[in-house]
């Protein structure tokens, strides 16, 4: 009776718990940071905070041309991982089924070939990044336990998802359960680790850009 019941749990109660923790955690952290507030600047504004903020969010999402070789590797591999991750997350038909069931929204899925490629590239990029983290002395020095933990938590959903699509290694039901469980783990841990960067990145960029924009600095 075990496998079916575990699957039922992760599709129901487990998911409810994970979503609750994720939303509470994220909303709390984002609002909390926001409420730290800033002293009102008494200076005369020389430009708009909004346009500066938005511009920086955009600009820092591009690959800078002034990078070292190490920098290039990290950024490119990081890009591949993130793009692959979001392509599979948003355009696999099964994920759209889920989104439709929860939010009522839906859009066309991408062909399975594209998804497969995105997943494989994404997995490869993650592995390459991990290896680089071990090999590169500077990165190794900078890494702590949380870096490896968050790597693992982001890697597991990708890997289990790919195995599920291709039914590799285990039965469908086992893989489906593992996949959902791994995502739930990610959701639960995300707000309290570096994974919160999925939101804080944009806040931080906006903040930097807005400060500059206010001063009329155009970068």
């Amino acid at each position: 009776m075990v496998t079916q019941e575990i699957l039922l749990w992760v599709r129901g109660t487990g998911l409810q718990i994970a979503v609750a923790v994720f939303v509470i955690g994220m909303v709390f952290r984002m609002l909390h940071i926001r409420m730290l507030g800033r002293k009102k600047s008494l200076a005369q504004a020389r430009g708009s905070e909004w346009s500066g903020g938005l511009r920086t969010i955009w600009k820092r999402s591009l690959v800078s041309t002034r990078l070292s070789a190490r920098g290039y590797f990290t950024v490119i591999a990081g890009f591949i991982f993130h793009i692959g991750f979001f392509v599979t997350l948003l355009f696999l038909s099964q994920h759209i089924d889920l989104i439709r069931a929860v939010l009522g929204l839906h859009w066309p899925a991408m062909p399975r070939g594209v998804i497969d490629m995105a997943a494989v590239l994404s997995i490869a990029a993650m592995v390459a990044l991990l290896v680089h983290r071990f090999v590169d002395p500077v990165k190794r020095l900078l890494s702590d336990f949380q870096d490896y933990l968050t790597w693992l938590l982001s890697f597991l959903p990708l890997l289990s998802g790919f195995m599920l699509l291709r039914e590799i290694g285990f039965e469908y039901i086992t893989l489906l359960t593992l996949h959902i469980a791994s995502v739930e783990l990610l959701l639960i841990v995300a707000p309290f680790t570096k994974l919160a960067h999925m939101f804080t990145t944009f806040m931080a960029r906006w903040y930097n850009g807005a400060v500059n924009g206010f001063k009329g600095i155009n970068i």
Binding site: M1, V2, Q4, E5, L7, L8, R11, G12, T13, L15, Q16, V19, A20, V21, F22, V23, I24, G25, M26, V27, F28, R29, M30, L31, H32, M35, L36, S93, Q94, H95, D97, L98, A101, V102, L103, A109, P111, R112, E171, Y172, I173, L176
Partner: protein, 362 residues
């Protein structure tokens, strides 16, 4: 009153050896054995004594019996009269009332330790089992009594095997499966709602041929029939792989025979033989008729969300949980923010201003 062998029985009826061989070929197919084993099956089957079978129906809808009486091979009559001696089945037997109960008692005494006990339906155990009784006795009581002298128990259908519909939330009668109550007898679960008739007879044939239960999976189901999922053997599988899904039951995709995953097909998580053994004398199986698998041979399938919700869909309400969580998170942040501000003002107030006097020292 030892039962005679099947060979004697057939011979008396003037059934030729060749007919018997044909019958065994059908059996081999049914048991998912290599087709060449038909002659070996014939050799053993001919020699065995027909075992006594007692069939108890508990909290059930008679669908399993209906399924069995539609069993195409061997026909029910031939099975009843030739392969086993069905000594008690309250729907199928001619006797009724006290005579029927007497027949059961007699068979239980006569073949103590040797008879095969077939059970369909779940057993309600809440409030002492009063929710289902036969001749004034609770199902629970009857099962415990009959199980005591059984050589093995066959739980026919998802209700007897896993609790089935009566066991679905909120399970008002406290319905449980046979295996929840009986721990000291070999139990074989033939799940399905109803089970494929050929599987019921196939398992009986296996028991007769080999004198033992077939290999079982972790849920006590015969591996020969439940070893693979519907999805593993589904002829629409290439469509699934290509991402071709029907969206509604009458769209272009549905007409083209595309995969029914998005229409709620539970084939990927359901172990049963429908895709190969098929239904109605091998005519087809549900997916061939354009309807997804509802997962009827798996535990708790009634509680696994809508039959028409795709597998990735959550089985509980996620949207309202998220909404409540957002409110809770925001409230917590406001409180934390107020606390922060309080601390800040406190610190500011407790700040002692440095004056020139302080710097001068003394």
């Amino acid at each position: 009153m030892e039962h005679e062998t099947l060979e004697q029985r057939l011979h008396e009826q003037g059934i030729s050896r060749r007919s018997f061989l044909k019958f065994c070929a059908a059996m081999a197919t049914m048991m998912a054995l290599p087709p060449g084993s038909a002659s070996a099956i014939a050799a053993t089957l001919a020699k065995v004594k027909r075992p006594s079978v007692i069939w108890l129906s508990f909290q059930e809808c008679t669908g399993c019996t209906e399924s069995l009486t539609r069993s195409h091979s061997p026909t029910l009559e031939s099975m009843i009269f030739d392969m086993v001696s069905l000594d008690y089945h309250h729907t199928l037997q001619a006797a009724s009332g006290h005579a029927a109960e007497q027949a059961r008692d007699d068979a239980m005494k006569e073949f103590h330790g040797k008879y095969l006990l077939l059970v369909d339906g779940s057993i309600p155990i809440k409030d002492g089992g009063v929710y289902s009784t036969i001749a004034g006795r609770t199902n629970l009581d009857m099962l415990l009594e009959a199980a005591e002298g059984a050589a093995a128990i066959v739980a026919v259908g998802s209700c007897a095997a896993f609790g089935g519909l009566p066991n679905a939330q909120p399970n008002p009668t406290g319905a449980v499966a046979v295996s929840d109550l009986i721990k000291d007898k070999p139990i074989i679960n033939i799940s399905g709602c109803p089970p494929i008739p050929a599987v019921i007879t196939g398992v009986l044939a296996h028991y007769l041929t080999f004198g033992a239960l077939p290999a079982l999976d972790a849920l006590g189901r015969p591996k020969a029939f439940y070893g693979e999922t519907i999805h593993d053997r589904c002829y629409r599988r290439p469509m699934y792989e290509q991402g071709k899904f029907a969206r509604t039951f009458d769209d272009e995709g549905a007409r083209n025979g595309w995969c029914l995953y998005e229409l709620g097909c539970k084939g990927p998580t359901t172990h049963n033989a429908c895709a190969t053994t098929k239904w109605n004398g091998g005519t087809s199986f549900p997916i061939e008729s354009g309807h997804g698998c509802i997962g009827c041979s798996e535990p708790k399938f009634w509680d696994a969300g809508s039959f028409y919700a795709p597998l990735p869909a959550p089985t509980a309400d996620i949207a309202s949980v998220a909404k409540t969580a957002a409110v809770v998170g925001a409230a917590a942040a406001v409180i934390a923010g107020a606390v922060d501000r309080g601390k800040k003002t406190q610190l500011q107030q407790s700040l002692v201003k440095l004056t020139v006097e302080d710097l001068k020292g003394d």
